[in-house]
């Protein structure tokens, strides 16, 4: 660790398998990562890359069956969440770990007022009295920038716009001063001008509150503006992990490179033709014995068919799961 602080959340070798009628799906394969207090870890990947399933597995939010968290350790301040009983886990959800989901309409309950939904975790986890919880709820709504907060407590979710609903979700997630905030595509359903508002809010809140944030998205632009460190996922595994500037200036995995080349930009030079990643993402029917990206990779060679590369150090705080060595411009010597 560069600054010696201990990670608040540490995940080691997490494996999640779904049992479906057409066989097993290995959605998450040996995913390891950690987040330090005050850090914002960005998780990037396409749909089906396992980024959301990883986060849901952490706190036991996946229904079992069909999901089965097979292996791994999830350490929150030294406590292994995969081995704790359901009551402790319930205390942690919404307590030490806050969650913000993609769609604020479906994650808020339409038949309860917003005030009730913000006060619920305060009453459950912090045993606050009703007046105290109400006072805190007003503070939280003011914190996330909802005007006229005390009056709006009585309002129902449908009376808020999309951006405002997402602010309410953030207020709920922040209610019990979580150590870790997990945000799963929190701005994907929002328009760009509203997304910009929410991103500013989160930057501001981080400075005020200093919690660790895990931010899941498929949008590399969002990541570039907000993350300290980035983890790129593909086919249920982590393929690259690096500090944000390093990742964008010096990507070391062919997938990250291709992804950065395939997105058009609003500023700077305009590409005449877009670079294309040919083919489709893999279907994870079995535990991978080869590199999941090999079929679409421009740098593949024999070894990629035979083994699944594990993550190796390629720079300071930077690792990539690839047998190709961009430093020497050739295959890694075994």
């Amino acid at each position: 660790m560069p600054d010696g602080t201990l990670p608040v959340l540490e995940v080691r070798d997490l494996k999640t398998v779904f049992q479906t009628r057409s066989g097993e799906v290995h959605a998450v394969n040996s995913v390891s990562f950690e987040v330090k207090p005050g850090e914002l870890l960005g998780v990037v990947g396409e749909s089906g890359s396992g980024k959301s399933v990883t986060m849901m597995s952490l706190i036991g939010l996946l229904p079992s069956p069909p999901a089965d968290v097979k292996e791994g350790e999830v350490l929150l301040d030294g406590l292994d969440l995969l081995k704790t009983d359901i009551n402790t886990l319930r205390d942690i959800r919404g307590g030490k770990i806050g969650f913000v989901f993609q769609d604020p309409m479906t994650s808020l309950n339409p038949v309860f007022s917003v005030g009730f939904q913000i006060m619920e975790p305060l009453r459950k986890h912090m045993n606050l009295s009703k007046p105290a919880a109400r006072k805190r709820a007003v503070e939280l709504l003011e914190l996330v920038g909802i005007p006229d907060a005390s009056r709006r407590l009585k309002d129902y979710p449908h009376q808020f716009s999309g951006g405002m609903r997402q602010r309410v979700m953030i207020a709920i997630a922040l209610a019990c001063d979580p150590k870790v905030l997990i945000a799963d595509e929190p701005t994907t359903a929002l328009d760009v001008t509203i997304q910009a508002q929410i991103l500013e809010l989160v930057k501001d809140l981080r400075q005020k509150l200093g919690m660790a944030i895990v931010w899941i998205t498929h949008d590399l632009g969002v990541i570039a503006g907000i993350a300290d460190r980035v983890m790129v996922m593909y086919g249920g595994q982590v393929v690259e992990q690096a500090p944000v500037k390093e990742l964008f200036s010096n990507p070391q995995h062919p997938y990250t490179r291709a992804l950065l080349e395939t997105i058009p930009k609003v500023h700077g030079a305009r590409a005449e033709k877009l670079n294309v990643i040919e083919g489709q993402p893999p279907i994870l029917g079995a535990e991978p014995t080869a590199c999941p990206f090999r079929d679409r990779c421009a740098f593949r060679f024999d070894r990629c068919e035979q083994e699944n590369p594990s993550r190796r150090i390629v720079g300071k705080d930077h690792d990539a799961a690839c047998f190709y060595d961009f430093a020497t411009g050739g295959p890694l010597r075994a």
Binding site: E46, D191, V192, A196, K273, V276
Partner: protein
């Protein structure tokens, strides 16, 4: 316009699309949603016009009203010399082959009970005489054109991935050799790595077949890639219309400026350096738009006149149209106010 020698293939004049709101005990008409409120533009032959805006601004409604999938409230739509807005049903049917549409959600726009060859062949059955064998040949030819394997002709849509389904939708749109295609968010439902595949295909087809596109999207970076000219919509009206490079390098309308600055840039050094314009508040309801300029409630450069008088959509530079009081040259007051900002 851009090039006087070229005739516009599509000409839209003062198009309005108001949806009625019914309510109350007797279910009377109590108001209307002004989804599209008086917009005009031309699209040249072989050109791609990008239509951008946030959700609810009316961009998809424009696309649908253009092909008369909605009955427009007012206005004129001329496609390839034919008056679409006032054509009789029989006339309209004769015109359908020249204008086609590609939809956003390939899952919802393909019939799950029809095979790929039925889906692509349906417009041929409807509009052309010919034997089944001829149709079959044409379907396979179309599948080649969009990069679908001929062996999959008898499969059903659910057996394909999102990107491939969108290719089926494109093949269906191409079946009758159209001149003009409305692409309504054709890549919004696709993954980043698949988006580029579909956009490149659309560009290739345009070069090869001389197609004209109206490309509707909320993705400003992709529109910059594919469009020749760009129209920015806000609350049912066009705020700015200009050639692509002009609008992206020097946006004039305050809304365009805010919209472009809000797009997250996939480069940490640029993201750090840029000063974002953060708009406050939300888009007003189109059933009750603000008086004066419809952007006046959120505009960072709002003036007194904006709250009273609606700005005129007019040409301020060669080929650049803006609806904003900051650029209304013929009004001395507005010009003075603009210089003070």
């Amino acid at each position: 316009m851009l090039d006087d020698a070229k005739q516009p293939l599509v000409r839209v004049q003062n198009l309005k699309m108001h949806f009625p709101i019914f309510g109350g005990l007797l279910h009377r008409r109590i108001g209307e949603v002004k989804a599209v409120d008086g917009i005009s533009f031309d699209i040249m032959e072989g050109e791609t016009l990008g239509l951008v805006g946030e959700s609810g601004c009316g961009k998809s409604t424009v696309g649908r009203a253009l092909l008369r999938l909605y009955e427009a409230t007012a206005g004129e739509v001329i496609i390839d010399g034919a008056d679409i807005a006032h054509a009789s049903p029989e006339e309209l049917r004769m015109m359908r082959p020249t204008m086609q549409m590609i939809f956003q959600d390939p899952q919802a726009s393909l019939n799950p009970r029809m095979t790929v060859s039925d889906i692509i062949g349906e417009p041929l059955r409807e509009h052309q005489k010919g034997s089944a064998a001829d149709r079959e040949d044409r379907v396979l030819e179309l599948m080649d054109q969009v990069g679908l394997n001929r062996d999959f002709a008898k499969r059903y849509p659910h057996e394909f991935s999102g990107g491939q389904r969108q290719r089926i939708g494109i093949a269906r749109a191409l079946a009758l050799n159209p001149k003009f295609i409305v692409c309504d968010e054709p890549i919004a439902a696709l993954d980043v790595s698949i988006q580029a595949q579909v956009v490149n295909l659309l560009e290739e087809l345009q070069d090869r077949l001389g197609l004209t596109y109206l490309f509707i999207s909320h993705d400003l970076s992709m529109v910059r890639h594919i469009a020749d000219r760009v129209a920015v919509m806000y609350l049912g009206q066009v705020a700015e219309l200009a050639p692509r490079d002009d609008i992206y390098s020097k946006p004039l309308h305050p809304y365009t400026q805010a919209l472009l600055s809000a797009v997250p840039e996939p480069d940490p050094s640029i993201a750090e350096a840029t000063d974002r314009i953060i708009l406050t508040g939300d888009v007003p309801s189109p059933s009750n738009p603000p008086k004066g300029c419809n952007f006046c409630t959120r505009c960072p450069q709002v003036m007194d006149i904006c709250k009273v008088k609606k700005p005129i959509f007019q040409e301020v530079e060669q080929g650049r149209f803006v609806a904003c009081h900051l650029f209304e040259n013929n009004e001395a007051t507005a010009a003075n106010a603009a210089s003070e900002v």
